[in-house]
Symmetry: C2
Subunit: 431 residues, 2 copies
């Protein structure tokens, strides 16, 4: 953990270092992934099974007939889930779905003064593949956050791929898939699953877009199949930035920093405060909380290597620092949280006030928890309904409006050396 002070002479350089620290080592798996994709394109189901047997623990049990997870298996898994967890999942799903229902974009069609009709129409993607990691990173909440916006968008075919490194799928993941109305579930993972979703096999029909988190192989495969299908952003390690004044509760702030840090040793938790006392108190509170946290080893590594506490003179003056960090999650625990938030340009999601820990947003707040990481909130947004729709623009001229627009189009076509463009207009106007 580094302590920075905005009034110290080296602050500019120290802060720049905080911004540019590399938290991920890119594994060079691209060549292997290229071969796996080519193999699945050539070999279909047989290749998918073959790669799974070779690469996945417990993969030996897979056969082509078992690629698809049966309805009976899903039912059985749901019966295995604790009722309390199922209730919590359903509660979360309802809140996420009703939040996202407000994001459905409007179509538009109008006629202007020259008589030209123009506008656009949004349509749902015809099919979406949701990748869900296996093992410990197999989070049911992530199924909800990826699948529900697609369902709200009206995607008629929603497919899930989830590997089974432990020999079976996390029952809550299957329950989440059922709650979200996922139509097909396949027990495959890795680059081979991404290839199957993109290009199709005998069992798996191809999809138009693939979303969801994954390891280095999955990320490399998504980059490679982009163009053949759409993909979502490639997520990096998670981050939180907390702005807090001297009134904030140091134990609450410490708990939120560690909730982020426990995700991953490469996660990053930063506190910016105008109170040296709070900074000291939070530093001590983090150590107390770490002593009793189950995932302390991971959280401690993250806090040690990437954690930071920055003391500033004035939190409003620190907004440029926030915009430079462009955090995935921004908590504002100050009396004037709304005013401060209004000044921020770059953040994936903002959590206002002392009673909005980021973890509420991970599960049951309503907004999506798939958010831009690694400073990409400067240019991108969290997952939403429009990521599962696309816009088709519409234009209609009649003879009169074409007469009004045509001459300018002819002039511009000729000025660009595109006489054929000009003629396609001129021929209709007898010009």
């Amino acid at each position: 953990m580094v302590r920075l002070d905005s009034s110290s002479p080296g602050f500019r350089d120290d802060f720049a270092r905080l911004l540019t620290v590399k938290r991920e080592i890119a594994e060079d798996v691209d060549e292997t992934v290229r071969e796996i994709i080519a193999g699945v394109v050539r070999g279909g189901d047989a290749a998918l099974v073959d790669y799974t047997r070779r690469l996945d623990r417990h993969g030996a049990e897979l056969t082509a007939a078992r690629i698809r997870v049966g309805e009976d298996e899903i039912e059985a898994a749901i019966r295995d889930c604790p009722a309390e967890a199922l209730d919590a999942l359903r509660f979360a799903a309802e809140r996420i779905e009703s939040f996202h229902a407000q994001q459905v974009p409007s179509d538009h069609l109008g006629t202007d003064a020259l008589g030209v009709t123009s506008g656009w129409r949004w349509t749902a993607l015809e099919s979406v593949g949701l990748y869900v990691p296996g093992g410990t990173a197999s989070y049911p909440s992530s199924v909800l956050m990826n699948a529900l916006p697609a369902r709200v968008a009206g995607v008629p075919r929603l497919v899930m791929a989830v590997p089974m490194p432990e020999g079976q799928v996390n029952p809550l993941v299957l329950a989440a898939a059922r709650i979200c109305g996922v139509h097909e579930v396949y027990r495959v993972g890795g680059a081979q699953a991404v290839a199957a979703l993109a290009y199709g096999t005998e069992t798996i029909a191809p999809v138009a877009k693939i979303v969801g988190p994954g390891n280095a192989w999955v990320a490399a495969a998504k980059r490679r199949v982009f163009g053949q299908v759409g993909i979502d952003m490639i997520a990096g390690p998670s981050e939180v930035l907390i702005l807090a004044d001297g009134e904030a509760n140091p134990d609450w702030v410490a708990a939120d920093l560690l909730a982020q840090a426990e995700h991953d040793a490469a996660a990053q938790a930063i506190l910016i405060t105008d109170s040296r006392d709070l900074a000291d108190a939070v530093e001590a509170a983090v150590e107390r909380a770490l002593a009793v946290l189950p995932r302390a080893e991971i959280a401690r590594a993250s806090w040690r290597d990437y954690g930071a506490i920055v003391v500033v003179d004035d939190l409003h003056g620190a907004v440029p620092l926030v915009d430079a960090i462009a955090p995935e999650h921004l908590e504002i625990e100050t009396a004037d949280a709304d005013e401060l938030a209004a000044k921020v340009r770059n953040a994936g999601a903002i959590f206002l006030g002392a009673h909005t820990p980021e973890a509420i947003g991970d599960y049951v707040g309503g907004p999506n928890h798939v958010l831009p990481t690694a400073r990409s909130a400067r240019f991108s947004s969290g997952l939403g309904v429009i990521d599962f729709m696309k816009r088709t623009t519409i234009l209609r001229c009649g003879p009169e409006s074409l007469r009004a627009l045509g001459p300018a189009a002819i002039t511009l076509g000729r000025s660009e050396g595109l006489e054929g463009h000009a003629r396609s207009v001129a021929i209709r106007l007898n010009l």
Copy 2:
């Protein structure tokens, strides 16, 4: 050109071939581009000048002091432009700007029954770099289509990079930049320009997103800097699909097919019709029009290698073919164009009726002409205002609403093995 008939036995295979034909050979410039980017990151302006001198025709004239195009040069270029072309550009800009003004998305904030406040806020990107190719592919209309949505979005810093392979910039490109309110213009191109926009040099401050078309080097550089900055889609060769019934004018249809084909030998123009007579008449009309087209060599190669006329029994029954092609541009020249259009899921832009040649949309219609190619209309949209904005979600709980949401969040956090998440909620509820 291929003629297909949906009633012939080999149609399925022939049509599948039409869908999968490769129209572009990917040049393998990735290693060179990697070196160029690393060079500019290390060397700044000096490297930018050095690469330009080595790689660009007329590049020898560049010095660091001349990287930025002066206001006096822009003024002088505008004085060189024909008044008719300037008027047409301004007319186009007004129409494009007022169309895009309708796309500005709304913010939203509401409080639900549990007392949770949630919503989102859209903000403009802090800066955008617009790449404009040099030489013959330097289209002023493309400047309008890329820059105006950014201006409408409220981007406070809009930068243009345009190489000068002929020793000077196309004056209409500089005029278009001025009309769009571009703030800075730099006379650099290629991978080195993309690197400078992404990472910055002494002269060029870095931007948050890079948009605009370019050659293989530019495309490879954009892919490489993605993550450091946002990028738009990588555009492939242009396409048109025309649906026309027996009442369509074959000369008009032929003119529209060739307006597409003249772009590029890799462009693709397809007609689907339910009239064998129209098919024959268009085939003949294309040959007549080619005989007198200035860019006949390019258009003829495109029509020969990738053109197609598909005769079907019923145009409404052909909608699945349209969705499979997912054309960048779809013209519908039938009596029931609106009804047909309503059934189409996948198309970048639709042009309705006989008096809406696609070229109107290239220049003065209003909708954007930067559209998804190569079947990517299955999962993506044309350029629009939201490509220059991003959404920050907002969440606020008070003590009461946290009490309502907290238990489910705690349950889900524990079920995912994230005790730190659960504790950050529990600590606030004394649980």
